[in-house]
Amino acid sequence: MAAAEVDRVTPMFWGLFSAGGFVVAFLLPVFIFMNSLAYGLHVVPWEKVEYGGALRWIRGDPATALLGSTLGWLGGWLPKLFLVLIIGGGLFHGLHRFKYVLYDVGLHRAKKVLDPILYGIAAAGTVAAVVLAFSFP
C-alpha cells in the first residue's frame, strides 16, 4: 500500500465531536425535557415558560438566587454558557457523525465538498448561538 498522507484536519474535528458528544450526552436530555416538554406535561407553570419567564431564565434568576451573594455573578453567565455548549457541542458532534452517515450511503467520494459545508454550518451555528445568547442581559 502506498504511504498515504497524515490527516491533520480530521483529528481536530474528532476532538470537537468527542467533546460535543459528552456535552450532548450529559446535558441535552434534561434540557429537552425542561425546555420542550415540562410545561406540556404540567410539570412547570405557565409563568416559567412565557416571555417574562424565559427572559428571567436566560438572565439566570434562579441560579443567582441559589448561588448566594459570593457566587451570584456566575448566575447570569450559566444559562448563556449552557445554551452555547449545547448548541455548539450539538452541532460539532452531530454534523461530524452525520458526515459519516452520508459517507456510508455512498458519498465518501464527496469528502472535499461535504467537509467544508458541514463543519461550516457547525461553526456558523455556534457563532450565532454565542451572539444570540449573550445579546440578552
Partner: protein, 251 residues
C-alpha cells in the same frame, strides 16, 4: 450412507466456480449429523463423501490458525469453533467471509488484508539498535500485560467481514491491522510511535472508523479492535494537539 434414525441436517453453501459459472450460486446438502459436530466437520463430510470439489480453507481445527472463517447464517465465525447444534436456522447458510472478493467457493482473496497488516508497520522499530552481544530487549510481565490483549490476534479476518466501514471503503485500514498497530504502540521496546501513528492516522486509516463495534463482537480472541482504534484516535489527536500548541517542544 446413514443409518435409519440418524439425525440429518441441511446446509446451504454458497459456491463459486470461476471456471464454470460467472456468478456464485447456492447448493444444498443434507448430511447425517451428531451433536458434537462443528460446521467445519460438516464441510469435511461433504468434501469426503458427497462433493470433492467443495473448496474452503482450514488447518488446525482448534481456533488458532485463523484460516477457517466463513459467514454462517450471516455472521462471521470460525467454522471449527461453531457447533451445528447451536445454530437455530435450517438450512444452515454458509457463505464466504463478507467484504472480500471470492476466489472459489468459500475461499476469499486475502491479499488486501495482507497489505493492510504491512501498512500498520507491525514490528518493533528502534531508534537505537543495540548490538546483538548485548542481548535481548527485556520487558517486565507488567509491560507485556499492556499489549497482551492486542497481541492475541490470529489474522482470521472475521473483523473485516463484520466491518460495515470496510464494506463501503476497501481502502480502509480496518480492525485487525489497527489493533496490531496499537499492540506495537503499547510495547515498551518500541520506539517507532511517530512513524507508525503517521502510517495509520491517514484519510483511509483510523479516522474512517465509526465505532460500530461489531469487529470486537465477532473476534474469537477478544482482541477488541474497536476499542484499540479509539485508543489510537485519542493518541493521534493528543499528539497533534501537542504539536500544534508546542511547536518547538521535543516530541
Amino acid at each position: 450412507m446413514a443409518d435409519r434414525g440418524t439425525k440429518m441436517i441441511k446446509l446451504r453453501i454458497s459456491r463459486y466456480r470461476p471456471e464454470r459459472s460467472g456468478e456464485p450460486f447456492d447448493q444444498e446438502f443434507t448430511i447425517p449429523y451428531r451433536d458434537d459436530m462443528v460446521v467445519l466437520d460438516a464441510l469435511n463430510y461433504i468434501k469426503d463423501h458427497i462433493d470433492p470439489t467443495l473448496t474452503y480453507r482450514w488447518s488446525c481445527r482448534m481456533g488458532i490458525c485463523g484460516s477457517c472463517g466463513a459467514n454462517v447464517d450471516g455472521t462471521p465465525k470460525l467454522t471449527c469453533a461453531l457447533y451445528l447444534r447451536d445454530l437455530k436456522k435450517r438450512p444452515v447458510l454458509i457463505e464466504p467471509l463478507a467484504n472480500f472478493a471470492v476466489l472459489k467457493d468459500l475461499v476469499v482473496d486475502i491479499e488486501p488484508f495482507m497489505e493492510k497488516l504491512e501498512a500498520a508497520k507491525p514490528y518493533i522499530i528502534r531508534k537505537d539498535e543495540r548490538p546483538i552481544e548485548r542481548g535481548e530487549y527485556r520487558q517486565t510481565p507488567e509491560e507485556l500485560e499492556l499489549y497482551r490483549q492486542q497481541s492475541l490476534c490470529i489474522n482470521c479476518m472475521l473483523c473485516y467481514s463484520a466491518c460495515p466501514v470496510y464494506g463501503h471503503d476497501e481502502k480502509f485500514l480496518g480492525p485487525a491491522a489497527s489493533a496490531l498497530a496499537l499492540r506495537y504502540e503499547l510495547d515498551s521496546r518500541d520506539q517507532g510511535s511517530e512513524e507508525r501513528l503517521a502510517a495509520v492516522a491517514t484519510e483511509h486509516g483510523i479516522w474512517q472508523c465509526t465505532f460500530v463495534g461489531e469487529c470486537s463482537v465477532v473476534c474469537p480472541k477478544h482482541v477488541d479492535p474497536a476499542g484499540a482504534i479509539q485508543q489510537l484516535k485519542a493518541l493521534a489527536a493528543t499528539r497533534l494537539m501537542k504539536a500544534m500548541l508546542l511547536p518547538l517542544a521535543p516530541r
